[in-house]
Subunit: 319 residues, 2 copies
Amino acid sequence: MAVTIKDVARAAGVSAATVTRALSNPEVVRPSTRDRVKEIAASLGYHPNRAARGLITGRTGNLGLLVPDLGNPFFPSIVKGVQARAHEADHAVFLADTDEDPAAEAGLVRKLAKQVDGVLLCSPRMAEAELRELAAEVPVVLLYRRIPGVPSVTAEFLDGMRQAVSHLVALGHRRVAYVAGPRSSWANRERVRSLRAVAKGKVELVETGNVAPQFEGGVSVADRVLAERVTAVIAYNDLVALGLLHRFAARGVGVPGDISVLGFDDIPLSAMVHPALTTVALPKELAGQAGVDLLLRRHDKERRELPTQLMVRGSTGPA
Amino acid sequence: MAVTIKDVARAAGVSAATVTRALSNPEVVRPSTRDRVKEIAASLGYHPNRAARGLITGRTGNLGLLVPDLGNPFFPSIVKGVQARAHEADHAVFLADTDEDPAAEAGLVRKLAKQVDGVLLCSPRMAEAELRELAAEVPVVLLYRRIPGVPSVTAEFLDGMRQAVSHLVALGHRRVAYVAGPRSSWANRERVRSLRAVAKGKVELVETGNVAPQFEGGVSVADRVLAERVTAVIAYNDLVALGLLHRFAARGVGVPGDISVLGFDDIPLSAMVHPALTTVALPKELAGQAGVDLLLRRHDKERRELPTQLMVRGSTGPA
DNA sequence: CCATGATCTGTAAAGGTTTTCATGCGCCCA
DNA sequence: TGGGCGCATGAAAACCTTTACAGATCATGG
């Protein structure tokens, strides 16, 4: 059915060993032979069977990517970055969506483990101990989560939060709400920590309850935010911020006239709504690329922290 | 390194053949042996190496999924459906994003072909002849494209368009614009065809030029639409419709007061904006699931056409 | 007690590739 | 002329699993 290395060998009048050498180790085979083999391989449309290769080399040329929810536009952007970089490195990508279920994560990774050279874990929600255990079994790179000893790609949350708060302070805001995301989210814990550090002595901080990191989460908490009589609100992420905007609009609350709204992530959507959302842009495609680089180079204890950038748009204004 | 079938065989005091039988063909092995083997396999955490299995059985337990642009929220929804169904059937999913590049499609499929049991092609842009050629090499199921002889999952565009036009007619609209998507898109051709059929004798139709199926496409064509002095506009998809809304808002054109806007797809985003977008909902997760079923032959049909549903929201009103 | 058949289990081959080791060949230098 | 060396290539083993086939065990009926 499919064309195998033997077909090429026969057509070229050489052994299978020579074919594989000509293709993957060209300098050890005589130029004339090498060229003939390459030409015949190309004309027959031969591509090595990766499963068979993986069996003997132990490397599959595949990698796994786990995301909590593809419905959150933050993650497709990361997936695109991973895809692009992986393809450059001639790797294919297994994608798995956990549907925000922390219990499903480990199982999915272990199932994938045999078929991949490593796994990228995007904002994994599972407990640190379990994650550490997993990292001992499979090469793992964390995206948007940091654990000592495990390679990771994160962003400068502290700096991003500083930009956000400075922006609000400059606009005269003195009492600001933060809408927290899932407790299990490292990114949320990190944002809270950064915000507290940055807010100290500058603005009064009102923290409101943990919501799902989705549009509905924002909608559900909007009225509570209003009741706090703040002049600005920072949301866990853009989706939650959009939920806030939606509910504010429905209640006739002006943005940014009555209240300023600030998000986190900079998903494409944020620039499309009215008013457009002011938000702290996190590297997405870049993070995906960096993650692949870390995974494929296999520097054991490497870590990257990428820059963030405040995008000022229509949803923030003077207090 | 990893635990293989030999480890299990040794621990259980049987041959490898008995282990594989106990696990995948349990009825042919004596119950006492079978239970012991199963128990030991579980305690050792043994899972068969799928690459090795695939080598001999010819079936990999993987499938491929090709999408034009993960940045369009329409596609992540489909991906989620595919994932869910594939996972139920114990299959893993390779994802590839073509970045709207028709030339990349065939190459990506062929690269994946060796490692998968089949490929789902989501709204492929490539020429019909090439697609047909590809379908002869690899088991293929088309999502949102139809070609005779190739299994496919589509939606009832004609009925959806009828719902849309009836809605507009009932609201008193008599002159309606259509903003066309990419010429290479089968979905676009199909929508045009349906719209013309449905509009005949009911509304005057103004077709405006082909735009990229993205937010920017809608923004770029908005002024041209206004110049046509229509009372309503139907966009190729929701993203384009959102682009229209954005530009209309920027120019102070009231929606639905001055013009009604209608989209296609019903991406999650459409319900989040203000005014919320009236749109024809296409099955997304369901389409993904149906595609997997077709590919794995769990369904004896070769073709499925799923129902559509008009979602009336804030962006349409009386003419 | 032997022949027969039914059940269960082990052996070996197969699948496509890479890699180690061995072979053959031509060449240089003594 | 022959020993030694380097280079290009081939043969065979290895990776892990499944499956066709053969062998072993056991009970049953004659």
